[in-house]
């Protein structure tokens, strides 16, 4: 089984401080998509980022991977601050790729339709400098790790189910042995049976490899299964953060209370939920 890179660093794998991002508004002025976001995730730890649509979750996720550049603030992986400029040269690119990898909601869009599962992983492995023989072996091990069999290994994305595609996307993200895996609504589109399988897989992977997870989701019930800490975002700001069981059992912020009250469950009354939401 793969082991996440040992860094010799004892502090948190991921340290984020005072992250800020604004976008220009059409009528002038700027929209603050994220502001003052900071957190730590230890090796093998897992942080959930929750909030309504438009609260800034995906903006934070994209800054972590480097898809968008923060206006200010720092992101450090294993004590090493991630630069805002793209890395130069193969070694620097690999080093950066090994810091943070991302899995999206719709794996279909991020997978090359022409490549079989095995080819997809081989491509990722070779891109990052693995020798042919070693890459072959590692690809098979990754497929096995995410529970894809030999049939799926030789299938192209269109011939895989949603859950299988998501497993492949996770395997590809793990190919470079990243220190941090960011998942943005990665199980939102899956059927509950498949969603539970993927959640179980992620749990297993973080136990076995020590990869740190950042799990972005609008679904509080899902977040609770997979995270140690939760950060609740509203209008770009963290309104509450702390150990997941505490945040869910004893929410301090009215917005967190509203989010929780709105989750349907037995005996739930939407009218009462609406009152809590309006009172926030």
């Amino acid at each position: 089984m793969a082991g996440t890179q040992e860094t010799g660093h004892d502090g948190p794998v991921l340290s984020v401080d005072a992250l800020r991002k604004t976008y220009p508004l059409p009528g002038g002025g700027r929209l603050t998509a994220a502001d003052g976001i900071g957190f730590r995730v230890p090796r093998g730890g897992s942080l959930g980022i929750v909030g309504e649509s438009g609260s800034g979750k995906t903006t934070v996720a994209r800054m972590l991977v480097g898809l968008i550049r923060a206006d200010s603030g720092t992101i450090a992986v294993a004590g090493h601050v991630r630069g805002s400029r793209p890395p130069r040269g193969r070694a620097a690119r690999l080093a950066r790729a090994r810091e943070v990898q991302m899995v999206f909601q719709d794996p279909y869009l991020s997978l090359d339709p022409r490549l079989t599962g095995r080819q997809c992983l081989l491509t990722a492995l070779r891109l990052h400098g693995a020798q042919a023989a070693a890459a072959d072996e590692r690809a098979l091990r990754l497929l096995d790790q995410v529970g894809l069999g030999s049939r799926e290994a030789e299938a192209r994305p269109h011939a895989l189910s949603g859950g299988q595609r998501q497993r492949l996307a996770i395997a590809r993200a793990l190919a470079v042995d990243p220190a941090v895996l960011v998942l943005d609504e990665a199980v939102a589109a899956l059927d509950v049976s498949i969603q539970a399988q993927v959640l179980g897989l992620l749990e297993e992977i973080r136990r076995e490899t020590g990869v740190a997870l950042v799990f972005v989701s609008h679904d509080l019930a899902v977040v609770q299964y997979i995270t140690d800490e939760t950060l609740v975002m509203r209008q770009g700001r963290a309104v509450e953060q702390g150990p997941t069981p505490h945040v869910l059992a004893d929410p301090q912020d009215p917005y967190t209370r509203a989010l929780l009250a709105a989750v349907p469950r037995e005996g739930w009354d939407p009218a009462e939920a609406v009152r809590t939401v309006r009172a926030r």
Binding site: D191, S193, Q195, Y225, V263
Partner: protein, 369 residues
């Protein structure tokens, strides 16, 4: 049974399309009564939307259909031309997941509503305008007079879903079909829309077929819930009973893998395998390959839906609703089949089924590989 005829009555509906290995719908039977919310749950491809479309008389062309669909006494599948258009415009209304898909982006909200009203017979322009404003108020939009002049991009997803609901109400339909109507919304907005739909139902006594993949939502919102798998109904019970005592192994599997607030990772038990496609056919019970309780006989057992004994025996002064039904050969024969052995079959049978689940769990998982 009851004296009032059901609003929606689907009886033995089977639908086969050329080039598929199994029917899209197989012997689907269900009823929605006036003022009732019937939940329809099941994983992707189980046939939920197709069932709802049947009530609109919108089954895929080129298929072979068996069975009957009646809405308010009208045989829907034989409707043609003007009668079918009137049925879709007035008697039944559908609310989909994505409100943006239902609204023309370049047209004003008011035009969308007056058009719906015209279909419903309100042709006087001034009357239609006034009614449009009224409808927007009825669905809780803050500033109806302004919203009628706005275009879809000026409103949020939750507001647009209210507009779509206003459009659905334009003709005062007897039956609402809500197909994942709140799935694309934030939980807080979802609560608002559900609150609205519940109020409207109470005021107007419409019946509702409520499709969702969220079991906890179905539990909280519906009166009765029906579970579909591979085009078949595998279980139906009043909502509280279904969630307190799910009987079919698939229902229990779905509940076991549905995230619950307050649950822990250990409680989440994935169902092995995945929902079947139309290319897969089954000589016996369609769930056999994934069922932790399957026995060799299940592979050849043709599924039949049988009545269930209510947990704890019949309810003395309860409402005249059928207690429930399920299609699993390992569940006990129900009251109507063997009236003399009521309580005994119910209790002992349930414990046999759950006891067997541990013993055969390993073989079930293997079968799914």
């Amino acid at each position: 049974m009851t004296t009032t005829q059901p609003l929606l009555d689907i009886a033995g509906l089977t639908l086969e399309l050329p080039g598929t290995a199994r029917p899209l719908l197989a012997e689907v039977t269900l009823q929605v009564r006036t003022g009732e919310v019937l939940g329809l749950v099941g994983e992707s491809g189980s046939g939920k939307s197709t069932t709802a479309k049947a009530a609109l008389g919108m089954l895929p062309a080129g298929g072979r259909t068996e069975g009957r669909v009646t809405v308010d006494g009208t045989d829907v599948l034989t409707l043609r031309g003007e009668a079918l258009r009137a049925h879709r415009a007035r008697t039944v209304a559908m609310i989909h997941q994505d409100p943006r898909a239902a609204l023309n982006p370049v047209r004003r909200i008011g035009d969308f509503l007056t058009e719906r009203l015209a279909h419903a017979g309100v042709t006087d322009r001034r009357a239609a305008r006034a009614r449009a404003v009224e409808l927007l108020g009825a669905v809780g939009l803050p500033d109806p007079a302004r919203h009628v002049r706005q275009r879809p991009h000026e409103l949020s997803g939750g507001m647009l879903q209210r507009v779509v609901i206003a459009g659905a109400l334009a003709a005062e339909p007897r039956l609402l079909l809500a197909d994942e109507a709140t799935s694309a919304l934030d939980v807080t907005t979802q609560a608002e829309i559900l609150d609205l739909l519940r109020t409207l139902r109470a005021e107007r006594e419409t019946g509702m077929l409520f499709i969702t993949h969220d079991l906890h939502l179905a539990a909280a919102y519906c009166d009765r819930v029906l579970v579909m798998y591979a085009g078949r109904i595998v279980e139906q019970q009043p909502a509280p009973a279904l969630f307190a005592h799910p009987r079919h192994p698939y229902t229990r599997g779905l509940l076991g893998c549905s995230p619950t607030l307050g649950g822990t990772a250990a409680d989440l038990r994935p169902v092995p395998g995945r929902p079947p496609s139309l290319a897969e056919s089954f000589p016996g019970c369609p769930f056999a390959a994934r069922c932790p309780e399957a026995e060799p006989e299940c592979e050849t057992w043709a599924p039949v839906v049988s009545p269930l004994e209510p947990e704890g025996g019949p309810v003395p002064n309860g409402p005249p609703v059928p207690a429930g039904e399920a299609a699993c050969r390992r569940l006990p024969l129900a009251a109507s089949v063997a009236p003399a052995t009521h309580g005994a079959t119910g209790a002992s049978g349930a414990s046999t089924a759950s006891g067997a689940s541990e013993a055969s769990a390993a073989s079930g998982a293997e079968a799914a590989r």
